[in-house]
Amino acid sequence: MTLHDFAVSFFALALTGGLILLCIAFLLTVVRILLGPTLPDRVLGLDVLTNVAIGFIAVIALDSGYTLYVDVAIGLCLVGFLATVAFARFILSRGKTESAIREARVGVDAEAGLEGGPRP
């Protein structure tokens, strides 16, 4: 096996391995997003999902040879950041945590902020 062959097959293997890891990463982040329990947790999940997607795009670009996909990755960087910023802003302006909302709900019932936490 020449170095070249090794390099090529190692690279191919790395790509497969990378894709497997990234798929696992997708799964795990999705679980966090769905589990929450708090809004910041979910936002964090989305942030990681963005990063994983960026990585996924990079690997697919390597795999398929269409390196121009890097532009998509850049775009995702931008909006990923925007999303996190916006959600941070959202958390801040909502001004309440889920538990606070739940407490308020017990008292007032009808009105509360955007609902939070998972349901029992």
């Binding site: 990234l22 799964l27 802003r89 509360a112 998972p118």
Partner: protein, 785 residues
């Protein structure tokens, strides 16, 4: 007709409309005296038509017209024969008198100009109706009479009764008109006959057609509603809400005769069948008797007259239904006579009202001294109506009894109806024409007075005309009734009846009628209370029925509308989706365009993973009770879609999808910052089931159809073209972008239009607020430098 004569015809047709246009102006300038110049219009039309009489009486038929709507094969054409010419003469002649009468009657009325306009419009419509040859021309005028009578009846619109009368007339005659339209169109499309002339020339074509019965019934619907046959008669008495000149005009010469005209017109083509001789006499006889009884019952002399009109119309329909030559002659004679005396009597009633300020028969009496001319005119008309010789009414009544004198149960029944009806009408005539003028004048009447010349001129002329017509009956028959009857029979007829009574059965019956009439007149008060009592006991009538029908219609409409338009978006949406599902599955099942069962797809594991990611995103969006989970999951599925696009070679799409999806989630979250959404946000199980069923059906429908399409061969010509010329001509390597800005640039132009408007619309939504809240958000434009 030669060209000049056709021009004259058009002029005659146009004159009333011209007068209608001028009336408001003239009235403003001349006040009530405007009646004189305005009356010139119908008078001129009268003389123009009169010019056709010699030819017509010799059996000529004058046709003129032009292609109105060649695309629809519709002509604007007219036919002057005996029937239409005499009708036209009645309309314009009586019309002239009515106009003059209106000048006096409504003197000083602030809307007199408007009134003149309406009555001229009506006159023009009526004239066009009787002269029309093309079936559609006829119908246009027909409906015009409905519209204009709506305006005339509702003239005193501040009174609810007037509005009701107007609506009732429009509803009944308009409804009948639509039936007539259907009938005419069927005639037209079934037989190709487009005009009266063609219909009359076609012989038995209509009678033999398969659709004879529907045609007849539809035409009769039109005629009966217009001519106030039971039970459609209700609108006519209620139309008395109109000013008296209108009543005189509508209910003597014109509108109500439109139906009679139609029957006479169609008699040669549709008549003399079992259906015809059954339906018409039946309706006519009932209408005659009931109308006459109701006339007796009324206390308002205008109403009395109105019901006698109903009765007369019944008599006419009955005669036309009998359809023999004599019967048609009788009908024609009665029609002319009725036009003259009834027009006169209505005007008399108006004069009485005008002079004594009441129309209640119990409060009238002794006016003869104060209003001698009116009294004279009234007597002339009443004698004609009563069938006393030497008036035209006598000629008619004689001929009627001639027409019915057959020893046959059918004719005997009709004869009895005729005698009873005539006797009642005789009594009614004198109740109106005699009772107010003789006897003691009630004290309630203050300063009764004769009206101006315009007011008494009309009835007087009509009364005298009735006398003159009978006196010179040969000329009368030769010029008017003969040609008219010939046209209605469809063959030349001779009329011999004269004012000199002959001792025969008819005369005897006439005498009997008069005798019976006198008795009824004398017993009228008692009869009146008797009928009134009977009606009160019944407690219901078609008039009440009309209100009930209207209310029922509206209530039913409300019920249906509320059912169909419940005001709830989710129901609207569910129905919409259901329709879409039906639109998918209906034809799929009907045509059997199911996809073939696909083989198991071979995908890379990471492709599966992306699809799994998609599913992992979709499910929580649907199922999560927590909205934020749903929103973030929306982001997940959006990312998955973007990744799918990337895996399948669509970087631009992927790029855009990532951006758009993230932005969607972001603004969704931003906008929801302030929403204090209610917590109790569960979907009832029933809703879930409904939504689930719809969802599964819609999803599988779209998916299956997509699969079946994807299994077909594909024509890639367009894309090949784009690939070929994208760089070579459009200088772009990104084919997608070249499609967007060049190949299909105008799509993009529209698209950015959407984007721009969205920005503006959102701005408008956020900035414009109702109420004090708005003050908190000043327009930022004020702040910008």
């Amino acid at each position: 007709m030669t060209g000049i004569e056709a021009t004259n015809g058009y002029i005659a047709l146009a004159l009333p409309f011209l007068a209608a246009a001028l009336a408001p102006l003239l009235t403003r300038v001349l006040g009530q005296h405007a009646a004189w110049p305005l009356a010139l219009a119908p008078a001129a039309a009268f003389f123009i038509l009169f010019g056709a009489v010699p030819g017509v009486s010799a059996g000529d038929v004058f046709l003129f017209g032009f292609d109105w709507i060649p695309s629809f094969d519709i002509r604007f054409s007219f036919r002057l024969d005996g029937l239409s010419t005499v009708f036209g003469l009645l309309i314009t002649g009586i019309g002239t008198l009515i106009v003059l009468y209106s000048g006096g009657y409504l003197a000083g009325h602030k809307d007199q100009g408007r009134f003149f306009s309406f009555i001229f419009l009506f006159m023009g419509a009526m004239l066009g109706l009787v002269l029309a040859d093309d079936l559609m021309t006829l119908f246009v005028y027909w409906e015009l009479t409905s519209i204009t009578s709506f305006l005339l009846i509702g003239f005193d619109h501040h009174r609810e009764a007037a509005r009701r009368g107007a609506i009732q007339a429009l509803v009944i005659t308009g409804g009948g008109g639509l039936a007539l339209l259907a009938g005419l169109i069927i005639i037209r499309e079934l037989t190709g006959l487009a005009s009266m002339t063609e219909v009359l020339a076609a012989g038995d074509a209509l009678r033999d057609s398969a659709l004879y019965a529907p045609i007849l019934i539809l035409v009769l619907c039109g005629a009966f509603t217009k001519s106030a046959q039971m039970p459609f008669h209700v609108w006519l008495p209620n139309a008395m809400e109109a000013p008296t000149p209108v009543s005189a005009y509508l209910h003597s010469a014109t509108m109500v005769k439109a139906g009679i005209y139609l029957l006479l017109r169609f008699h040669p083509a549709l008549g003399d069948t079992a259906l015809w001789t059954t339906i018409l006499p039946a309706f006519g006889a009932v209408t005659l008797v009931v109308g006459a009884l109701l006339a007796l019952r009324a206390t308002d002399i205008k109403i009395t007259l109105a019901y006698t009109t109903v009765a007369s119309l019944g008599l006419l329909v009955m005669l036309i239904g009998v359809g023999t030559e004599t019967a048609i002659i009788a009908a024609v004679l009665y029609l002319i006579a009725h036009s003259l005396f009834k027009g006169g009597l209505f005007m008399v009633a108006g004069s009485v009202d005008h002079g004594a300020h009441t129309r209640e028969i119990d409060r009238l009496g002794g006016l003869g001294r104060a209003m001698p001319i009116t009294f004279a005119a009234a007597m002339l008309c009443a004698l004609s109506m009563g069938g006393v010789t030497p008036f035209v009414g006598f000629l008619a009544k004689e001929e009627i009894y001639h027409a019915l004198e057959y020893a046959d149960p059918y004719y005997i029944a009709l004869m009895i109806a005729a005698i009873v009806g005539n006797a009642l009408m005789f009594a009614a005539a004198f109740i109106v024409a005699l009772k107010p003028f003789v006897g003691r004048m009630p004290e309630t009447i203050d300063h009764p007075h004769e009206g101006t010349s315009t007011i008494w001129l009309g009835p007087l002329v009509l009364g005298i005309a009735g006398l003159v017509g009978a006196m010179f009956y040969t000329t009368y028959h030769q010029l008017f009734s003969g040609p008219m009857a010939s046209a209605a029979v469809g063959a030349p007829v001779e009329i011999g009846i004269g004012w000199v009574p002959h001792l025969n059965l008819a005369f005897a019956l006439s005498m009997a009628t008069v005798a019976l009439g006198v008795v009824i007149y004398l017993l009228s008060a008692r009869l009146r209370s008797g009928i009134a009592g009977f009606l009160a006991a019944v407690g219901w009538g078609p008039d009440k029925g009309f209100d009930q029908a209207m209310r029922g219609l509206i209530r039913g409409a409300v019920r249906i509308t509320r059912l169909l338009q419940p005001g709830q978006l989710d129901q609207y949406m569910a129905v919409t989706i259901a329709v879409i599902i039906a639109a998918l599955f209906g034809p799929l099942i009907y045509t059997g365009g199911w996809p073939a069962i696909p083989e198991f797809p071979r995908l890379h594991f990471y492709e599966w993973a992306v699809f799994a990611l998609l599913l992992a995103g979709i499910l929580p969006v649907v199922l999560a009770t927590n909205r934020l989970t749903a929103i973030l999951s929306l982001g997940i599925q959006g990312f998955a879609v973007a990744l799918i696009f990337m895996l399948l070679g669509a970087p631009d799409l992927s790029f855009t999808q990532f951006m758009v999806e993230t932005l969607s989630v972001v603004i969704l979250a931003l906008a929801m910052t302030r929403l204090k959404l209610s917590v109790a946000d569960h979907r009832p199980l029933r809703d879930k089931i409904r939504a689930g069923v719809l969802a599964i059906a819609a999803g599988s429908g779209f998916g299956l159809f997509l699969l079946s399409i994807a299994q077909r061969p594909f024509d890639r010509t367009l894309s090949d073209f784009f690939e070929r010329y994208s760089y070579a001509i459009a200088h772009g390597r990104n084919i997608v972008n070249v499609i967007l800005v060049d190949f299909r640039g105008i799509d993009t132009m529209g698209e950015i239009g959407v984007v721009m408007v969205t920005g503006l619309a959102v701005l408008a939504l956020i900035r414009i607020r109702v109420g004090p809240k708005g003050a908190r958000y000043p327009d930022p434009l004020e702040e910008t430098p």
